[in-house]
């Protein structure tokens, strides 16, 4: 979209970097405030931060500055280069996710033909960063955390992918914009005006997607890689200051990206009854707001589960993925495929 305007290449790049940084950190701040500070507090029958600014909204500033003040520690026996590179790798995987999610017909970083494939591939990149962090810290807890994360992310990558395949079959395209369009053009019992969000037909897929993304994001009840009570924060044990902050921001921003992915695949993305799928000013203005509202709904479910459940055991986690989720998602694909051909 920016390429259409007549501005030099360096300015385009600068604008893109600024937008990407603003989006990633902005979404992380929104999630930290709305969910970690407020919703979590109210679910535990307390108020959360109230002093800094109205309803504690400036608490983020205080916490961010606190991280910047901390000493940047590197363990003596750590592999310094890998140790420093690990948060960057995790952050890159997060930023890559934002590229393909369409916020309106034209507001999309890159409308890839295989957008779904790309998003799932980019999201699994973070496991490399986590393994790097766990290994380079020269700390047994970090190493255990890193290996747990690797095992968990590999196990839950499969159901995540297989759950999305159902949507792809139904939409007949791998492009995220195409999937949004397919939902907008769909019909419920012959009524075309409301579109057809895939959550109606792919309810099982949506449930599997939510569970698997919960595990991908290493949020409770699947937070064994960072289990505070067992592994003292796992692969993040040795990180302090800004590097810890990068891990934290990318964790929240990845949650945002996954919620956006879920909203796009299952809830109709930026589309809302009455909006034009082919473009236009109204769609470009209202689309991002609609997508944001849907993201907040999906994220609320993710965080709601996170705040409600205790941690699973490692073997329960693997059993759940391999014996329940993967067979279930395979069956879902079978049924979807058969119905797609039959109907």
């Amino acid at each position: 979209m920016i390429a259409a305007l007549d501005i030099p290449y360096w300015a385009q790049t600068a604008i893109k970097v600024a937008v990407a940084l603003g989006l990633v950190s902005g979404s992380a701040f929104i999630f930290a405030y709305v969910f970690l500070y407020k919703i979590m507090s109210h679910m535990q029958s307390r108020l959360g931060p109230m002093e800094a600014g109205p309803h504690g909204i400036l608490q983020l500033l205080a916490d961010g500055v606190k991280f910047l003040q901390k000493e940047d520690l590197v363990p003596e026996r750590a592999d310094r280069f890998v140790f420093a590179a690990a948060p960057v790798v995790v952050m890159i995987s997060t930023v890559l996710l934002y590229v393909v999610i369409p916020a309106s017909p034209t507001l999309v970083g890159a409308d890839l033909g295989a957008g779904v494939f790309y998003a799932l591939a980019a999201s699994s990149l973070s496991v490399i960063g986590i393994l790097m962090a766990g290994w380079a810290s020269a700390n047994k807890y970090s190493l255990i955390g890193g290996l747990r994360a690797a095992g968990q992310l590999i196990a839950y990558e499969l159901p995540l992918l297989l759950a999305v395949v159902g949507v792809v079959i139904q939409a007949g395209t791998l492009s995220l914009s195409g999937i949004v369009a397919a939902q907008a053009d769909g019909e419920i019992f012959g009524l075309g005006a409301f579109g057809q969000p895939f959550v109606l037909t792919q309810l099982v897929g949506f449930a599997i997607f939510l569970v698997a993304s919960q595990a991908e994001l290493t949020q409770a009840p699947f937070d064994m890689p960072i289990a505070e009570s067992e592994l003292v924060a796992g692969y993040m044990t040795e990180y302090s200051g800004f590097r810890f902050l990068v891990f934290y921001i990318s964790e929240l921003a990845t949650t945002f990206a996954f919620a956006a992915l879920g909203a796009t695949l299952f809830l109709g993305g930026w589309w809302f009854p009455g909006l034009d799928t082919s473009g236009g000013l109204l769609s470009n203005l209202v689309g991002p707001a609609v997508l944001f509202a849907k993201i907040m709904v999906v994220a609320f479910v993710i965080f709601w589960v996170r705040f409600s459940y205790p941690r699973l055991r490692e073997d329960q986690l693997q059993t759940f993925a391999w014996k329940v989720l993967i067979p279930l998602s395979l069956a879902n694909i079978m049924v979807t495929a058969v119905l797609k051909v039959a109907l």
């Binding site: 919703i39 109210h42 679910m43 029958s45 409600s308």
Partner: protein, 161 residues
């Protein structure tokens, strides 16, 4: 699958808690009124104290410091012998050590120690949590009236009339 109803119930608990008002209150702006007989701080009624040391000796973490000396008081009746009494020189409670068990209040045979519901006496310096007998005496103003006796109960003690 057998766990599913429990999992859904758990989600319901957190959701309902979220909608209810929080049980905590933003403290310096709003204050809870403590229960009238809450254990906030211990007050000293100095004229009742006989320096018997029972409270100091029964204190589990030794946070009561008492010093006193003997002196002669005038006789009760004209022509009588001067009485020997103990005078309180020092009575300190170190609230940085006190664990609010209330054994000293229970054990005091002369009703010199009382519970007060007052709780706002935090200090920036730990040494200032040592309340001397003047400070402990000031807390007496905040001690609530004892609850009324049951109907028919006799008032104990000398000088009933």
């Amino acid at each position: 699958m057998a766990q599913l109803p429990g999992l859904i119930k758990g989600l319901g608990v957190t959701f309902r808690t979220m909608l209810k008002p929080a049980v905590t209150i933003p403290y310096p702006h709003y204050k809870e009124t403590p229960a009238p007989r809450a254990r906030g701080v211990i007050a000293l009624k100095e004229e009742n104290c006989t320096v018997c040391m029972l409270c100091a000796r029964s204190c589990p973490d030794w946070c009561i410091y008492i010093e006193g000396h003997k002196t002669k008081a005038p006789p009760r009746r004209a022509g009588g012998k001067p009485r020997t009494v103990s005078l309180l020189d020092r009575f300190d409670i170190d609230y940085s050590l006190c664990m609010y068990c209330g054994i000293c209040v229970e054990v005091c045979p002369f009703d010199a120690l009382f519970w007060s519901p007052e709780y706002e006496y935090s200090e920036p310096r730990i040494a200032e949590l040592l309340h001397d007998k003047d400070r402990l005496g000031q807390w007496m103003e905040t001690v609530p009236e004892p609850p009324a006796l049951e109907a028919g109960a006799e008032v104990k003690g000398r000088g009933k009339a």
